[in-house]
Amino acid sequence: MSLIKNWKFWALVIAALIWARMPWFVSNNYQLQVLFRITLFAALGLAWDLVGGYAGQLSLGHAAFFGVGAYGLALFTQLSIPVWISLFLAAVVATLVAAVIGIISFRLRGPYFALATIAFGEVLRLVATNLNVTGGAIGLTMPSLFTGRTFWRQFYLASVALVVLAFLINFLVSRSRFGYYLMAIREDEDTASAVGINTPRCKLQSLLLSAFITALGGALYASAFQFIVPDSVLTLDISIQVSIIAMLGGAGTLLGPIIGSALLLGSQEVFKNQFQESHLLIYGVLIVIVVLFMPEGIVGGLQQLFRKRAKSPSASAQPATSGAAQ
């Protein structure tokens, strides 16, 4: 109802359309590939944000879902299941894997949870490296979701679709009771259970949702590059990159992961071309600057700035104690 009148809604629709039209503005496949990666990782950042941002559970194991999505697609198509059905099945399997990881790891809080997720990601990497089905360290060739001369353009459009899907999910969650539950868990888990929230279940639900999208992203990514090895899709690097994207842009905000992905991957690409190996230095400095000056991330930091301007809880924040004395 009010959505139609809301300028923010229309601004986002226009932004999405421009985003989808980007291939018409860039000249070659390399640039398109960069855009594809930025878009795809924006979607992954959004998916991670459900668990890491809204629910505040620092997962450093999202490569597990990314990798299971990629391997799932490859293996299901080997069973001569159509690619699109394989894609869906791969995401379902990743969700089941997330259920197992979640049920075990969510018993732990804080840094212990983060460590457990790293462990699970690494276990899966080792399993994939040592099994015959997964091709061991040699890896597997991937079926392509799109073929033909313009396949990069199609992959790009698919990544835009994924980002739109992930954004919609986060939007709906953030406006729902479930979203409030996740935020309550992030702020204080004891308080959350004191108001009747089944905290283990809510955390698990957020992880399942997140894993499903992450697996779709992993399968899409691997399919575009047509070849996977454990070290490319099940590596800790991916887990860390996804979480940094969300935190840099602003964990627990709707636009944060998108901005984080554009900034991080975009600058990585630019500096790589300019400075070769020393690009990592600049990349590192960038992260340090944001962490130092905007610990809430870019979007989070800006929001805080505006909130402070709007209503500073100083003089007017005295509680009504005087008024309460009858």
Partner: protein
């Protein structure tokens, strides 16, 4: 005090390693009653609250809430049965606004955001903190945070609220103002168990009944005016020397 008991503890014991933090405590509480558990620092008050609200489970004995055994129930299920609680060390959802904090309580009964807002506003009005509703909880002073704890608990529409040290750390005027509001809680259909270490002024004013704990055991029970004169209570607070003085 005619209604059926809303809460009953039967010989409840809770150990932490070798320490018996709560020893064979029994108590019965009637609907609409305001009961205060008092006792010196370390007497086991907070442990009793954690046992009733499901954050801890007893080693021995049972806890009945409306004749249902809740001894082994996880906290979120106790909350859904109608046991609201506040925390001694306030646990606000710091990154959320005051209104959102209270809404989380209201969400126990509604999925609808608008409804949650309306109910929360009513409760904030009652606690005289509507003017703070848009501030982040992280910026509030202690007196407001103590109220916020009550507001959030009240929004879950509990039948029983546990107020753990809800007036400690407040100035006398703040504490008395809050006490006046606590006295009105039964209007919302809730019974109250309060826990207080030493703000006796508040207890004397609003408690229907007082239970005194010392080293985890119940040492006295009765109306406030009687309890404060009991030699055991004076000894627990002031030492054996003062017990002799009263005799």
């Amino acid at each position: 005090m005619t209604a059926a008991p809303i809460l009953e503890l039967r010989d409840v014991t809770r150990r932490f390693g070798g320490l018996r933090a709560v020893k064979n405590v029994s108590l019965t509480m009637n609907e609409g009653e305001i009961l205060f558990i008092i006792g010196p620092n370390g007497a086991g008050k907070t442990t009793v609250f954690n046992l009733i609200s499901g954050f801890l489970h007893p080693n021995e004995g049972i806890i009945l809430f409306q004749n249902q055994d809740i001894s082994r129930m996880p906290p979120h299920r106790s909350a859904r049965l109608g046991i609201g609680r506040t925390f001694q060390i306030v646990k606000p959802l710091r990154g959320l606004t005051v209104l959102q904090n209270v809404m989380l309580g209201a969400f126990m009964h509604t999925r609808n955001l608008q409804k949650a807002v309306e109910e929360s506003k009513k409760i904030l009005d009652f606690l005289q903190m509507s003017h703070l509703s848009k501030f982040l909880a992280s910026g509030l002073p202690l007196a407001a945070l103590k109220r916020l704890e009550i507001a959030r608990a009240l929004a879950t529409k509990p039948k029983l609220v546990l107020l753990d040290e809800v007036v400690s750390g407040l100035t006398t005027s703040e504490a008395l103002a809050l006490a006046a509001l606590i006295k009105r809680l039964p209007e919302w259909g809730v019974s109250v168990v309060g826990g207080v270490e030493h703000v006796m002024q508040v207890v004397m004013k609003i408690a229907d009944r007082v239970i005194v704990l010392d080293y985890g055991a119940k040492i006295a029970e009765g109306v406030p005016a009687d309890v404060v004169k009991m030699p055991e209570v004076i000894e627990a607070y002031l030492g054996p020397k003062f017990r002799e003085l009263t005799q």
